[in-house]
């Protein structure tokens, strides 16, 4: 199509896009317009005067055709031309960026590897592309994976890079060539970017500098047949004995949808579980939710893998690893109850055997009289509910039972809200006569923390009371907190078998962004009660459990004595409540798996005991490698964010690394945290390794360049020439001799003659 265009219009469409249109004749446009008018008038007059046997229509048609022919002729006489900026030969530079990552080793359908393009295109003796570029530009070659480096020849390419970071590569090449007239960058890659940085960060400076990027896409847009274990989502820190719910995202191309494949989950010593997942349609990810149990405390690497399937093109994208820190500590939860209630007894019984939960009870038994149970020492909570942040923030989670809001001071209410938003703690509200709207919580600082919307408090002699049948919502069926330790297929049956509960707080709506896990159908009908809902609030999570007597799931005569639903429910609820609650110091690494010799960013967020960000801490990362040697890496405050510290580490050996981050202020410890690294050859490059045409097109379009495939790349030298970047001169390209104009005139003449023949006017 483009060739036909060039045949008719003399130049390629890109030339028309880049150039400005002008008339080169030395007479003004108005004069030409006048001449054209005269000619047209005489032509019309000729046809009007010489009538013969023609009709008015005949004369109109013929006059029109003649005027069009004369207009075309006048257009040509005006010498139309394109004014185009072209680079001055050998005065400009072009940077050629060549992808040196491992995905270049992938073979195409025809058995040729992606990297073979380089030897075809950039070998001096053989390549017309290289010759054409060299004739016009001074070329600078770069190889890139995570960063770009200058190379002198193809022999320096290794195709062993573990990342493809397009943004870093563009930045580095632009910086390197910033001092020379640059006509453009040529990026030859599959576009399978594995970098974390947004590409925009690299494109904007290129736009500002007027440097077009010409992208050449290698490889196939779809690798078939192939299964990819795309992503694994799981909490990085869990309490010992918890069931870990893992989402494994699996995508396939080229296999039959519905094909069942196994997912094997194992740690260093044993297979933890094996589940089957049915593949989705081509390119559509399916999420397998798998529960695994990690009974022993300690950090471990968990591997998720799908065995290689028959005929699979790439099997190095079938496995993922993730670190999980199984914590054997006792997590402290404060349960504040405003009056003696049976929920207290049965909740405590349910979790009494859980060695990882310390449910500290503070129960108001009379005005200003409190019962304390499970406290660590005699001073804990001796004056009732905490009055300082330091005291409250010792707990990882807070349960508020049936207690009216007016019990608390305004500061305490604000502290409760901050407990969730700033400390990142879990907060659970229980239903009861003095809970929610009935307890006067509307209008307090805590109200907006609640995931449910409070209405008017119910009135009347007894207030509101209703019996409800509780069932999970679709979101609930997938949530670990309401699994009751049941097999997935038995879960619905288990919930249906549980006796109804009662509510005294009518709550039917949740806040935007909140998720409902349990609903309740009232036995007398009416709107559905929200029984269990949660929302993220700041750094923490807040949960509302609006029923007042879950103990019925233990005591009710319809519940068999051996039934453990109540115990399971509360264990899972309270474990969920403390799940992911941060310590004052939080450590993380940019990646959990790196190659030996690769640099990994270490970050820490540091807060004091009241969870206020600390910017003047001394933060050290103590990295203990596989050999047992410990190195100390200082982390510096990033300045960009309060309490954020960063540093980097380069592991040199293969194996596991423990990174303990220790924060001090003025000699006093603020806290410490541990994260883990694994250093080994990486398969990262084989995930999402198909050519990303859209991404490469976007880079080209956003910078004023062009996108090519190996089949169309021969046009590249000429396109850079007319890109207008670098040292240029203006060239005028005549258009009057375009074949299209000649054809148009022939067509108009022929049309008039043909009309005359048809109408018998010859």
């Amino acid at each position: 199509m483009e060739n036909l265009f060039e045949l008719l219009f003399k130049y390629r469409p890109l030339v028309f896009e880049q150039a400005d249109f002008a008339f080169a004749a030395p007479i003004s446009f108005r004069t030409w317009l006048g001449i054209a008018g005269l000619i047209a008038a005489s032509a019309v007059a000729t046809y009007t005067i010489a009538r013969g046997k023609s009709t008015v229509t005949d004369r109109g048609v013929m006059a029109g055709l003649r005027v069009a022919l004369l207009a075309t002729l006048v257009f040509c006489l005006m010498q139309p031309a394109l004014s185009l900026s072209t680079v001055v030969p050998q005065q400009n530079f072009v940077g050629v960026l060549m992808d040196d990552s491992r995905s270049m080793q992938l073979e195409g359908d025809d058995g040729t590897v992606r990297s073979s393009f380089y030897s075809e295109a950039f070998t001096p003796e053989e390549s017309p592309l290289l010759q054409a570029l060299s004739e016009r530009f001074a070329l600078r070659f770069f190889r890139f994976s995570d960063v770009a480096r200058r190379v002198d020849g193809l022999e320096e390419m290794t195709f062993n890079g573990t990342h493809t970071n397009l943004a870093n590569a563009l930045d580095a090449a632009r910086a390197e060539l910033s001092g020379v007239p640059l006509s453009g960058l040529v990026m030859v890659t599959d576009g399978a970017d594995t970098g974390e940085r947004p590409l925009t960060e690299a494109i904007v400076p290129l736009q500002a500098a007027g440097v077009p990027v010409f992208t050449v896409g290698l490889g196939e847009e779809s690798l078939e047949p192939d299964i990819e274990l795309g992503r694994v989502e799981l909490p990085r820190r869990v309490l010992q004995g918890s069931t870990l719910m893992v989402d494994v995202v699996v995508t396939q191309n080229g296999f039959r949808p519905g094909t069942a494949v196994p997912i094997i989950i194992e740690d260093d010593t044993r297979i933890l579980t094996e589940e089957t997942v049915e593949l989705g349609a081509d390119g559509e990810p399916v999420v397998a939710r798998i529960g695994i149990e990690l009974p022993e405390a300690g950090a471990r690497r968990v591997r998720f893998s799908i065995p290689s399937q028959a005929g699979e093109r790439v099997d190095r994208n079938n496995a993922r690893n993730a670190w999980v820190d199984v914590v054997g500590e006792r997590e402290k939860i404060l349960y504040f109850e405003g009056e003696p209630r049976w929920e207290v007894k049965f909740m405590r019984r349910a979790v009494s055997g859980d060695e990882n939960l310390q449910l500290v009870l503070l129960q108001r038994t009379a005005e200003s009289k409190f019962l304390r149970l499970e406290v660590s020492d005699s001073t804990e909570l001796e004056f009732g509910f905490p009055t300082t942040r330091e005291e409250l923030y010792r707990y990882r989670a807070l349960v508020i039972g049936s207690v009216e809001a007016s019990f608390f001071t305004h500061d305490q209410l604000q502290m409760i809200a901050d407990f969730v938003s700033e400390r990142g703690g879990g907060l659970l509200f229980l239903g009861g006569l003095s809970a929610f709207a009935e307890g006067g919580w509307a209008g307090t600082p805590v109200e907006e923390v609640m995931p449910v919307i409070l209405g008017e408090p119910s009135r009347g002699e007894f207030g509101y009371f209703s019996e409800i049948e509780v069932m999970p919502t679709p979101a609930g069926y997938a949530h670990p907190a309401v699994q009751l330790d049941a097999e997935p297929l038995e879960l619905q049956e288990r919930w249906e078998a549980l006796p109804p509960l009662t509510v005294v707080n009518p709550l039917t709506e949740v806040r935007p962004g909140a998720t409902v896990l349990l609903n309740g159908d009232r036995t007398e009908g009416g709107p559905r009660q929200v029984v269990l809902a949660y929302q993220r609030y700041g750094r923490g999570v807040s949960i509302a459990l609006t029923a007042q007597d879950t103990w019925l799931w233990q005591m009710h005569a319809d519940v068999p004595l051996e039934d453990q639903s109540h115990e399971s429910f509360w264990k899972q609820m309270l474990r969920w409540l403390v799940d992911g609650v941060p310590d004052p110091v939080v450590a993380s690494s940019a990646e959990e798996e790196v190659e030996p010799g690769e640099t990994v960013a270490l970050t820490a967020s540091v807060r004091d005991s009241t969870f206020i960000d600390v910017n003047d801490a001394t933060v050290l990362a103590r990295v203990t490698g596989p050999s047992g040697l410990t190195e100390e890496i200082p982390l510096e405050w990033t300045v960009e964010e309060d309490g954020a510290y960063a540093g980097s580490y380069r592991p040199t050996q293969q194996g596991d690394y423990e990174v303990e981050i220790v924060a001090m202020r003025q000699g006093a410890p603020l806290g410490s945290a541990i994260t883990y690294l694994h250093s080994a050859p990486s398969d990262r490059e084989f995930f999402g390794a198909a050519r990303r045409t859209q991404l490469l097109q976007r880079i080209a379009e956003d910078t004023g360049g062009q996108y090519y495939t190996p089949e169309t790349v021969s046009r590249l030298p000429e396109d850079i020439t007319i890109s207008g970047a670098g040292v240029t001169l203006t060239e005028e390209l005549d258009l009057w001799d375009m074949p299209a104009l000649f054809l148009l005139m022939l067509l108009l003449m022929g049309a008039e003659w043909g009309y005359r023949r048809i109408r018998g006017l010859v």
Partner: protein, 249 residues
């Protein structure tokens, strides 16, 4: 004596009284709306010997009503203001996790009641036993309780047990006599007060046995000038402790 099924006396129309207490719910309504109140002082009805419907009904309902009036002033207990008798055979018993059972020296449980009491306690229900005296009544009680839990030990609850400090600090177990025996302060000579208990397999107290003492009479006659104030005070302290403990452990 022959086994006698428990019976309830006809109820008075309480709506005609001007009573500071909360509304009284007819038994059917009370059952239907069980849970409306966080706490119901529940008296266990059981088969046995005695007058006025059986030994379960001794001091009923005045003792229960009086107990609720006072206990609600002492403890922040959101309780239903009226008595709540429920049979051991009744599945609804499991909606009330604490039951009060007295005069068990006249107890003669049916098989259904044995099964009901066993499942109640195994599910987590807490039983307060009171007002039985001497070896004969102890044996009768033990005979019945062995039918419920043949192998479970009944042990002393010593003063270092947290139940004695759950609300009030109680430093001595006191013998509380019936209203007619306030002068001799006992119902049988040589009987000294004992507090015993039965624990479940996980070591949780599920039955508290007040033997050779009559807390119920002290609750019932606390307003009577003839009844010693120190004894009724002690009885209410024990009542508060037993309730707070049962509702938290």
């Amino acid at each position: 004596m022959t086994q006698q099924a428990p019976q309830l006396s006809p109820q008075a129309d309480r709506s005609i009284f001007s009573d500071p207490r909360g509304p009284y719910l007819p038994p059917d309504e009370l059952r239907r709306t069980a849970g409306r109140f966080p706490f119901y002082w529940t008296r266990a009805m059981y088969s046995g010997n005695g007058w006025r419907g059986g030994s379960w009904a001794v001091d009923f309902p005045k003792s229960d009503q009086q107990f609720l009036i006072v206990i609600k002033r002492l403890v922040r207990l959101n309780a239903y203001d009226w008595e709540n008798p429920v049979g051991l055979w009744d599945p609804d018993l499991r909606r009330f996790p604490l039951i009060y059972m007295l005069e068990v020296g006249g107890m003669n449980l049916t098989e259904v009641e044995v099964e009901g009491l066993r499942s109640y306690m195994e599910a987590g229900g807490f039983v307060i036993v009171d007002d039985f005296w001497g070896p004969r009544e102890w044996d009768i009680f033990m005979y019945n309780i062995r039918r419920v839990f043949p192998g479970k030990a009944i042990v002393d609850i010593d003063l270092d047990h947290p139940i004695y400090s759950a609300y009030y600090n109680i430093e001595e177990v006191v013998q509380v006599p019936a209203v007619n025996n306030v002068y001799q302060r006992t119902e049988c000579y040589g009987c000294f007060p004992q507090v015993k208990g039965m624990y479940d397999d996980d070591g949780r107290l599920m039955m508290m046995i007040n033997f050779n003492t009559d807390l119920g009479d002290a609750w019932e006659w606390a307003e009577d000038p003839r009844y010693p104030l120190d004894l009724s005070t002690y009885a209410y302290q024990m009542g508060a402790n037993m309730i707070v403990y049962a509702m938290t452990h």
